[in-house]
Amino acid sequence: MSAAETDDRAESIRMIRDSAAAVAPRGGDLKRVRDLRWQDPGFDAGLFRQMGEMGWIGLRVPEALGGAGLGVAEMCGLAEELGAGLVPEPLIPCALSAQLLAACGGKGRLPALLAGDAVVLTAWQERADTLEVPGSPDAPRRFLPMAAGADVFLLPLREGGRLALYELPAERCAPAVERTQDGGNLGTLQPNLQDATKLADDVGTALADALDEAALVTAAYLLGGMERAFAMTLDYLKTRQQFGKIIGTFQALQHRAADVRMQVALTRASIDSAAAALDAGAAGDARRAAVSRAKARAAEASLRVTRECIQLHGGIGYTDDYDAGLYLRKAMVLANQYGSASLHRRRFMAASPEVEE
C-alpha cells in the first residue's frame, strides 16, 4: 500500500469507529445495556434496524449486493467500539449470515437483513467448541446467539460432498432458548426440513470463511471490552484510597496493572495483524493461522483481564451495580464463541508450520 492509501484506510477505520458512537457513546453509561438484560429477545430491534441503516450489517458485503464493501479492519474497528459499550445487538452473527447470503449471490432475505428488518441467524453449530460444520439433516443446532429474536434461520445441510444452504422461517420452528451470563440468550433449534427452502448448493467455503471472520471480529469485540474494563480499573486505582494512600501507589498493584496492559497490547497487535492479513487476501492456512492466533489471544486475555479488574476493585467489583462485572460476564460468554482459546491454539499449530531457523 502507498502512503496515501494507508492514510485513506486509517481514515476509513476512524470514521467507522466514530460512527459507532451513535450506538455506544464513548464514556456513556451502560443503562441501555442493563435494561435489556434477560428481557427477551435480549436486544433492541429498533437499534438493530439502525445498525442496518448505518450499513454495519453489510459492512463486509460487496457494494453491488447492497453492502458497504469495506474491509476486515473496518469491521474489527467497529466491533471493538461496540465491545467497549457491550452492545448486545447480534451484529456479528448477522454479519456472518449476510456474508453467506452474499456469497450465494444475494439470495433470500439479504436485503431485509442488510436493512436490519430481519434478524437472520446461521444454524451451523452441532456441538460445543467447534468450527466444523457437519450439516447433519436431523442434529439439533446449538448455541445460536440471541435466538430469542431471530426471524429467519439459515441451515447448512450436507448433500453429497457439499454443504447446501436452506432457509427456515423462525415462526415455523421456535428455538429453545437458554439465558446467558451477559443478559442475552443462546438457542437450540430442531431443524424442520419440511419448511426449509433451498438457497444454494455449495456454501462450504463461504461459510468457513465467514466463520473465520466472525471469530476475528469477536476477538475485536472482546478487545474493546477488556480495554474499557481496564480503563475503569485504572481510574479506580488512581482514586481509591486505603491506608492513607491511593491504592495505585502500592507496587504490587502497579505491577498487576502493567501486566494487564501488556495483555491488552498483545491482543491488539494480534488482531490488527490478522485483520491486515485478511484484507491483503491471505487464504488457506495463512488465513486460518492469523485468525486463530488472534482469537486464542483475545479469549484468554479477556478472561484474565476481566478477572483482574474485579480483584483490583475489591468488594465493589463483586457487585452487579458496578460495571466491571458486566465485562467479566461478557467475556464468559464470548471467549469461547467461534472457538475457545484451546481450539484456536490447536488450529494455529495445524495451520502454521514451524519456521526453520
Partner: protein, 389 residues
C-alpha cells in the same frame, strides 16, 4: 453397613477421630435435607432455617464452643473433621456469624451477664447475627473505620455506615466495630458493640452481587441508641479482640475442600465435553490435582499444630492464598473447556451440579474477602519473611 449409633452431644469430643468421622456422616445422612446439598448460591435464612433448627435441636449447632456454654467442645482437629464431612456431603453454610464469630468472642471476652444474655439465643436460633466491620472507606484498611459511637447517658449513639455485610437482611443482631475515640491512634480508638437491628435508625439495603444474588448489604446507622452494656470487652480494645479471631478464620478459609469440590466438577465436565482423555487436558488436570494434594499436605501440618495445642502464626496466610487461588484456577479451567456452555446462566442440562459460570463467578470474591490475597501476601512478606518497610 452396621448402623452407626449417634451418641449424645456431650460424648462426641471423646470419640476417636475416625469413629467421630463416621458419626458425622451418619448424622448428615439422617438429618441433612437432600435438596439443600451443594446449593448453587449462599442460602437465605428462610431456606436454611429448617436445617439450622435441626442442628440446634440435636445440640450440634456450635461445635467449637465449650460444653458449659452449650457447645460440643470439640478440639480444633475434630472441628476440622466435621467441616470436611460437611463439605464432602455438600452441606450449605447457614447464617453462621453468631456461631463462628460472635459466640466465641463473647465466650472469650464477654461478661457473665453478656454470656447469659446472648449465647442461649444463638443456640436456639432466636438471634441471627451479621458482621459489621467493613465500611465504604475501610476495607483492607479496616482500622480506618469511621462509624462512631458516642456515649450519651446510658447509651451509645451510633452514626455511620457499614457495607458488604453478608446476609444482614436475615439478621436481627449485628456486631460492630465502632470508633469510640477519635483522638487516639486509629487501632486504639475502636470498640466492639452489639446492636439489636430492630433499634430505630437502622436501615438495611441489600446489594446484588455478581451471582445476581442479594447476599450482602449496606447497613446505615442514624442516631441509633445502643445500651451501654452491649459493649464487649474493654472500651477502645475492640481491634485486638477482632484480630484475635482472624487466625482461626484463615485456617478455615484455607480448607482444601472448596477446591476439592471444584476439581470433582472439573473432571465430570471434562468427561462430558470429551476432553478427559486428551493429553493436554490430563497434564493440566494433573497439575491442579497435585496442587490440591500438596495443599492438603500443607494444611495437614497446620491441623497437626492445632492438635498439639500450638497457636498458628501469620504464615497461615499461605493456606488462604493457596486455597482460594487453586479454587479459581480450577474454575478457570472449567470455563475454558466448556465451550459455549461457559456462558450459560443455569447449570448444564442433565447435571445440576455443573454450574460452570456460577462456580467461576463464585470463586472470584474468595481472593477478596477474609483479608484480600494482596493483604495476605503483605503479611507473609512482612511478618513471616521479615521484609523491610
Amino acid at each position: 453397613m452396621d448402623a452407626i449409633r449417634i451418641p449424645p452431644p456431650a460424648e462426641l469430643d471423646a470419640l476417636e477421630d475416625e469413629h467421630f468421622r463416621q458419626v458425622v456422616r451418619a448424622f448428615l445422612h439422617a438429618n441433612y435435607p437432600e435438596d439443600l446439598r451443594n446449593p448453587p448460591k449462599r442460602l437465605h435464612w428462610a431456606e436454611n432455617k429448617g436445617w439450622y433448627l435441626r442442628l440446634a435441636e440435636a445440640g450440634w449447632l456450635c461445635p467449637g464452643w465449650p460444653k458449659e456454654n452449650g457447645g460440643l467442645g470439640l478440639s480444633p482437629a475434630k472441628q476440622i473433621i466435621l467441616t470436611e464431612e460437611y463439605e464432602r456431603h455438600g452441606v450449605a453454610r447457614t447464617n453462621d456469624h453468631g456461631i463462628v464469630m460472635l459466640g466465641p468472642l463473647v465466650i472469650k471476652y464477654g461478661t457473665e451477664e453478656q454470656k447469659q444474655r446472648f449465647l442461649p439465643k444463638i443456640l436456639t436460633g432466636e438471634h441471627i447475627w451479621c458482621q459489621g466491620y467493613s465500611e465504604p472507606g475501610a476495607g483492607s484498611d479496616l482500622a480506618a473505620l469511621r462509624t462512631e459511637a458516642v456515649l450519651d447517658g446510658d447509651h451509645y449513639v451510633v452514626n455511620g455506615q457499614k457495607i458488604w455485610t453478608t446476609l444482614a437482611m436475615d439478621a436481627n443482631w449485628i456486631f460492630l466495630l465502632v470508633r469510640t475515640d477519635k483522638a487516639a491512634k486509629k487501632q486504639e480508638g475502636i470498640s466492639f458493640l452489639l446492636v439489636d437491628m430492630q433499634t430505630p435508625g437502622i436501615t438495611v439495603r441489600p446489594i446484588i452481587n455478581l451471582e445476581m444474588h442479594d447476599e450482602f448489604c449496606e447497613v446505615f446507622f442514624d442516631n441509633v441508641r445502643v445500651p451501654k452494656e452491649n459493649l464487649v470487652g474493654q472500651l477502645n480494645k475492640g481491634w485486638d479482640m477482632a484480630k484475635a479471631l482472624l487466625g482461626f478464620e484463615r485456617i478455615f478459609l484455607g480448607s482444601p475442600r472448596q477446591s476439592a469440590y471444584a476439581l470433582s466438577r472439573l473432571k465430570i465436565l471434562a468427561e462430558r465435553m470429551g476432553v478427559w482423555e486428551e493429553p493436554a487436558f490430563q497434564d493440566r488436570y494433573a497439575r491442579l490435582r497435585l496442587d490440591l494434594e500438596d495443599l492438603k499436605a500443607l494444611y495437614g501440618t497446620y491441623v497437626d499444630r492445632l492438635k498439639r495445642g500450638e497457636s498458628l502464626g501469620p504464615d497461615v496466610s499461605m493456606l488462604k492464598i493457596l486455597q482460594t487461588e487453586l479454587f479459581q484456577a480450577i474454575t478457570d479451567a472449567m470455563l475454558e473447556i466448556a465451550g459455549e456452555n461457559a456462558g450459560l446462566m443455569e447449570p448444564m442440562e442433565g447435571n445440576r451440579d455443573l454450574n460452570i459460570g456460577g462456580l467461576y463467578i463464585q470463586a472470584r470474591p474468595a481472593t477478596i474477602y477474609g483479608g484480600s490475597n494482596e493483604i495476605q501476601r503483605n503479611i507473609l512478606s512482612k511478618n513471616v519473611l521479615g521484609m523491610p518497610g
